[in-house]
Symmetry: C2
Subunit: 131 residues, 2 copies
DNA sequence: GCCTTGGTTCGATAAGTGTCAATATCGATT
DNA sequence: AATCGATATTGACACTTATCGAACCAAGGC
């Protein structure tokens, strides 16, 4: 049998939700879908390309170049990022423009949190997640 | 609150590396391997269970309970998290204990961006932000 | 109307992944 | 040494996914 449970010593709310308490099954499912979308080097680079592009958006023609992949494949990866809420897009004339959804990235970043302040040089920003 | 501070706005430390410049192919590959490891709900819950366990570590017997999976499957997922550098483990007598590697989580969190993006500002789909 | 260009969708296929049953290993106990 | 309990590894199988070529749609320009 396993070890006997310890007295519940609840430390102060120091850390990310992932560290503070076990993730619920539902929440883990949602988060995993997003992390899985980021779990492909092509998609990560696409996301970074869009995010770092001038104006915060980029059209597919700007993205396709630089990859050794066919255009349908790029389109597929963009669709995955779209369906997980990491990217949004809009058609303007002939071209389709993509941009990132900052809140989605922020959510993932916040979940991972900074487990130990000593290992990560945290900025001045307090996690004022409540509005 | 108190966001209306002086015009000493920090112009430089605005964004994560992912937003500031396109990820290199190598870096994207490394990061994607870690994100892929998190892209499974079972692994996410395992990681959270280990991280939130008293003492910052947990033995496999503590983890297996709560999952409707066989023991080899749990062992497999733990191995994936281990091989991507998110967890470390050590055998102590009969049991094997796991703990998280804070630097790994911090790295991923940092890449995604600082959590000060004010997640409450939803609806800002207008990407007309200037860098 | 008819092309041309930019993007998406559709099948098909090869590679990868999650899961289990069976087996192996490792350490403690008898 | 023989055994037992806790984990890990192996092999197999169903299911998913990354990729491509071909077909399709949408907007302009002739």
């Amino acid at each position: 049998m396993s070890k006997q449970s310890l007295p519940v010593v609840q430390t102060e709310p120091c850390c990310s939700p992932l560290v503070r308490q076990p993730l619920t099954e539902d929440w883990a499912g949602d988060l995993a879908r997003m992390f899985k979308a980021l779990g492909d080097p092509v998609r990560l680079r696409l996301l970074s390309l869009v995010a770092s592009h001038a104006g915060g958006e980029a059209c597919v023609c700007d993205l396709s170049a630089g990859f050794d992949l066919t255009q349908p494949t790029i389109s597929h990866h963009l669709k995955v990022l779209r369906e997980t809420g990491l990217l949004e897009c809009e058609r303007r004339g002939t071209w389709v423009y993509y941009w990132v959804v900052p809140a989605a990235l922020a959510q993932l970043s916040a979940v991972l949190g900074s487990p130990d302040v000593s290992t990560a040089q945290l900025g001045t920003t307090a996690p004022a997640v409540l509005a």
